[in-house]
């Protein structure tokens, strides 16, 4: 895909790239984001919101769309830009109404997770301070944080990640990732003690 002589990526190519994950996903997300950045100005004028709010809404709409595509949950009869504009408009309206995106929506988009696990997770979050939970990731070392996010969120393959982060081979990456997950679990366990 990289060396292709193209004028623009088609919707099909964007969807395919995002589903591949890793570097292709990042590249296609950035491309899609850049292609429709004029939505921000339109949203500002139409909904009379600040530039910051419009940029925020636009980022949410792009991420939501890309996550839906990655999850194979994207269904639209129209083209990507039409879907994106509708999603962006909804996010702008949310900003006016001061709504924040619901956590149930985020959980629904978690990939590779059976539905009943998502239900359990939603029940767990009811008892949790979500901000505290996500702040735990900030306590992870920079490299650990990056390994976990790149592999679990962006879907980088072990080979891509080994190259990107400069590991000797995929085995040393896997060991490091295992240690990082252990560390994350420990921090999550400690969090519970702190709550009590």
């Amino acid at each position: 895909m990289r060396n292709k002589s193209i004028h623009n990526y088609s919707d099909e190519e964007i969807v395919a790239g995002i589903r591949i994950g890793g570097i292709q996903r990042q590249r296609m997300t950035d491309y899609l984001y850049t292609r429709h950045m004029d939505f921000v100005g339109k949203g500002r004028r139409k909904y009379r919101i600040t530039e910051e709010e419009a940029v925020d809404a636009y980022g949410d709409a792009i991420i939501g769309l890309c996550n839906r595509i990655a999850l194979d949950a994207f269904q639209s009869e129209g083209n990507l830009s039409g879907y994106l504009y509708r999603a962006f408009s909804n996010r702008c309206v949310d900003r006016i109404r001061k709504n924040t995106s619901s956590i149930s929506e985020q959980v629904a988009l978690l990939p590779y997770m059976r539905t009943d696990s998502k239900t359990v997770l939603l029940q767990l979050i009811e008892k949790e301070d979500l901000a505290r939970l996500t702040a735990i990731m900030e306590k992870m070392g920079g490299k650990c944080r990056q390994i976990l996010i790149d592999s679990e969120y962006y879907g980088f393959s072990p080979e891509e990640l080994t190259e990107k982060l400069g590991f000797k081979n995929t085995n040393s990456l896997a060991s490091q990732k295992h240690r990082c997950l252990q560390k994350l679990r420990q921090l999550l366990e400690k969090r519970k003690d702190q709550i009590i």
Partner: protein, 245 residues
């Protein structure tokens, strides 16, 4: 729980979460969770870990996109304010032209040097991303990311040679590297050969011609861009074209 047991439990829990167990095995896992509080807690921690990673990833990506918006090669962040500013300037110019004659306006526009216009409009493009494993062009892009533009040309010659058509992206960044090294004519000749993301390439080609002092060719490119509805650089091209004339 020793290390080996932890790994086994993690793998089992992960298989359950991912939906990789058949009904019988999944039911057994659920029953074990009900019987064994330690396993149940492990399972819950695993779910929370995934959510924590996912949320952190989402926040990171959102910030990266914001950076792209505010620092990107051709941000449209202030499109409206730019339009407003230019409209105000245009209005002032019209009034001045009525009062003092059109020649004042012409004189003002002609007094802006190509070099100064180039500096106003030139924003370096975003550096290329890390390439996949084994990508032969990695040294070219790595040199570009480091800002070592001399090395970009060396690596390009070594890897691509004359096969410019097969490597449009590398050719584009070679053109930008030459522009950065104050070799605008050479940059324009290289950029004219690549078809990589044409909207972007044609814009930088116009800037390269402008910097090299070749106004006719710069105007030709800018007119072509300004004539394309929906072109990413259409407004900028229109503005720059008017200022060159």
């Amino acid at each position: 729980m020793n290390e080996e047991e932890k790994i086994k439990i993690t793998e089992r829990t992960e298989r359950y979460i991912r939906g990789e167990m058949d009904t019988q095995e999944a039911t057994l896992f659920e029953e074990d969770c009900m019987r064994d509080p330690a396993l149940n807690e492990w399972y819950q921690l695993q779910l929370l870990s995934r959510l924590a990673i996912w949320e952190a990833g989402r926040e990171d990506q959102k910030q990266a996109l914001k950076d792209l918006y505010y620092k990107g090669p051709a941000t449209r962040s202030s499109w409206f304010s730019r339009q407003l500013r230019w409209a105000s300037i245009a209005a002032v110019i019209v009034i001045l032209a009525i009062v003092t004659g059109v020649w004042v306006n012409d004189y003002r526009l002609r007094s802006i040097s190509p070099e100064s216009l180039f500096s106003t409009y030139y924003i370096p493009p975003r550096a290329p991303e890390t390439m996949a494993v084994g990508d032969s062009l990695s040294p070219v892009f790595a040199a570009f990311r480091k800002g070592d533009f001399e090395k970009v040309a060396e690596e390009y010659d070594r890897i691509v040679g004359n096969d410019t058509l097969s490597f449009p992206e590398a050719t584009f960044y070679l053109g930008i590297a030459l522009l950065e090294q104050n070799q605008p004519k050479e940059a324009a000749e290289v950029l004219a050969k690549t078809s990589f993301v044409p909207e972007q390439t044609r814009w930088y080609l116009a800037l390269a011609w402008l910097k090299s002092g070749n106004k006719p060719k710069a105007l030709q490119e800018l007119e072509s861009i300004a004539a394309q509805p929906g072109h990413f650089y259409r407004n900028k091209a229109g503005q720059l074209r008017r200022q060159i004339r």
